[in-house]
């Protein structure tokens, strides 16, 4: 502790250099945390969903509809307890950058199939089910746009053309991330009424009596519709979500690569800064050795300086990432719901900061320790 004023004075020798180096480290670790959080959020989103629910989608592609008539046939499959369906709406609220997920659903059956994954006051649920133009909205989405119960909002259809005015009748909280607070749900019938010859469910949701029945149910359902004009592809809800993650391609590799490249670039900046700082102080190291400072003590003092810059930058950068995303409800325009910097990412970031300190401080610290006092003093004179 008694050496801290000396360390601090050396750090403040070139305030601008220290501030800029610390800011570089902070920015690098902020970017690292942000990029890695894309990967961890994608993975986390791929892991949500229940094993006791199955998704039946078109075998052709997710963008193809399935006949509405499949409803009763699916309910008749052994092991299936309940059936519901939904449709991806993709409307625009105000501006495309205000994107959020919108699902046209069969209200009663959908809320039943997902019972336990959300919380919604009974009176709000009843109002939503009763009113054809009603919708329910996640709490985070309500807060983001500053909406209130009873408010009318208008979506501009992109797949289903025209303006769609909905009345907010309920606000739900997510219990499980599968029922995300970043989404809006409204009546499937509303879309169907406007486009009766075209609109069909985008996918069906099956609730199983027992998760162990999933393989049998999947093969049975797909075999039933195999030779129809609309064959199906059935899998667990978790597998369905995971398939969206794979659609991002090798984004994990890309994000990790960019993140590590940024960190490596900053390592060079920090190392250069420490080397510069040490070179300027050769004579002072000689003076300290003359006074009686030992080699090991000088080594530690230089390492503490490097550590202060790296860890200071880490606290700023990782702290900013942690403070910025989750509290502001950032979700990359709805593509990454639940975006957050995990404890694992913070730990890894601090680990990188420690390595950064070691890598940038080691050579100057060793040089200071090995420096011959007489030669160092001659450096002045």
């Amino acid at each position: 502790m008694k050496f801290l004023p000396l360390v601090w004075a050396n750090l403040m020798r070139h305030k601008r250099r220290t501030v800029l180096t610390t800011a570089s480290v902070a920015l690098a670790l902020f970017l690292f945390a942000s990029l890695r959080s894309v990967v961890t959020t994608l993975r986390a989103n791929g892991e949500v969903g229940s094993e006791s629910r199955m998704i039946v989608q078109s075998a052709k592609a997710i963008t193809f509809f399935l006949p509405r008539s499949y409803d009763e046939r699916l309910l008749a499959v052994p092991g299936v307890q309940a059936v519901s369906w939904a449709l991806w709406f993709n409307g625009v609220y105000r501006d495309p950058k205000d994107f959020f997920a919108q699902f046209a659903v069969d209200p009663e059956s959908y809320l039943d199939v997902y019972a336990g994954d959300y919380s919604l006051p009974p009176d709000q649920r009843a109002a939503f089910v009763r009113e054809r133009t009603a919708c329910i909205v996640g709490k985070r989405l309500m807060d983001k746009f500053g909406w209130r119960l009873g408010q009318n909002i208008t979506l501009r259809g992109t797949i289903f053309q025209g303006d769609w005015t909905l009345t907010i009748r309920g606000v739900y909280r997510e219990v499980d991330p599968i029922f995300s607070e970043d989404a809006l749900h409204f009546h499937y019938e509303m879309v169907y009424e406007r486009y009766p010859r075209w609109v069909q469910p985008g996918w069906y949701v099956l609730k199983l009596e027992n998760p162990s029945l999933a393989p049998q149910v999947a093969s049975f359902v797909d075999s039933v519709f195999k030779n129809s004009s609309d064959p199906t592809k059935t899998g667990t809800e978790r597998a369905f979500n995971a398939s969206f993650v794979t659609m991002w391609g090798n984004v994990s590799f890309l994000m990790n690569s960019i993140g590590m490249a940024v960190v490596f670039a900053i390592l060079l900046v920090a190392a250069n800064s420490m080397m510069l700082s040490a070179r300027e102080r050769i004579s002072e190291v000689g003076v300290l050795k003359t006074v009686g400072f030992g080699d090991w003590l000088l080594f530690r003092l230089v390492m503490v300086e490097a550590g202060a810059i790296a860890l200071g930058g880490a606290v700023l950068g990782l702290g900013a990432a942690k403070a910025l995303f989750r509290p502001t409800g950032f979700s990359a325009m709805g593509f990454l719901p639940g975006f957050d910097v995990t404890a694992g990412t913070l730990g890894l970031g601090f680990g990188i900061a420690v390595l950064l300190a070691l890598a940038s401080g080691l050579v100057p610290a060793l040089n200071a320790a090995r420096l011959n006092a007489v030669q160092a003093l001659r450096h002045v004179e």
């Binding site: 004023p5 050396n10 002072e284 050795k289 003359t290 006074v291 009686g292 007489v374 003093l377 004179e381």
Partner: protein, 223 residues
């Protein structure tokens, strides 16, 4: 009684593959409580002698003893610890750390001791009083005159109450008035505080302030 004893001291090094012998079997003693001026032309080995006594450099052969300690046989770690307790070193160019205040510069040797913050503060205040700079404690070296900087350097050298004070041309960069002040301070340290002082100098006036003058030429005592 001798405080510093040099026995058969040999120091040589090579420059551009040419061997240069600085000392060849030098024998010399410095009495406890003495104030000695070492004079001689450039390259005569004056500064090398100080470095050998302080343990900053090692002899090629022979021994350097300060008090009971044989400096020439200590390891690097032992030397650092020994220097912090027994040697006060003053340079021609002051060599204060520019990022530290006068107070913090003087406190440096005490950071290597087990003294508490309060005890360190008392020692620093005493040293500042001795050199007459109590009102400059919070000034940085750039805010001090050359003479004041050198007095701070002397305060740093004496603050841990070392066995011996070594000075390498302490008045070399000072004007006449400041040089006189520094020399008067050294005389006071010698007479009042019984400090053993060895001072390398080119300046005959500075040498005259010391009790003893020794002349070195090509590593050999000439007077």
């Amino acid at each position: 009684m001798a405080l510093v004893t040099l026995r058969n001291l040999t120091k040589s090094f090579s420059r551009d593959s040419q061997p240069i012998v600085v000392f060849d079997g030098l024998n010399l003693e410095f009495a406890e409580g003495s104030f000695t001026a070492l004079m001689g032309p450039s390259g005569s080995g004056k500064s090398t002698l100080l470095n050998l006594i302080a343990g900053l450099d090692r002899p090629t052969a022979g021994t350097v003893t300060v008090g009971d300690a044989e400096v020439s046989s200590m390891s690097l770690g032992e030397l650092a610890a020994w220097r912090s307790r027994h040697v006060g070193f003053v340079f021609q160019s002051y060599n204060l750390l520019p990022v530290l205040t006068a107070y913090q510069n003087i406190e440096l040797p005490l950071l290597l001791t087990r003294l508490s913050k309060v005890e360190r503060a008392a020692h620093v205040r005493t040293a500042l009083e001795v050199v007459g700079l109590t009102d400059r404690a919070e000034h940085y070296p750039r805010q001090l005159s050359g003479g004041q900087e050198q007095r701070v350097a002397i305060a740093r050298a004496v603050v841990s109450d070392p066995t011996i004070i070594l000075l390498d041309e302490p008045t070399g960069q000072l004007d006449a008035k400041s040089a006189a002040e520094v020399l008067a301070l050294l005389q006071r340290l010698n007479r009042e505080f019984k400090k053993t002082i060895i001072m390398v100098t080119h300046d005959p006036h500075a040498a005259a302030a010391a009790g003893t003058e020794l002349h070195l030429d090509k590593g050999v005592l000439t007077a």
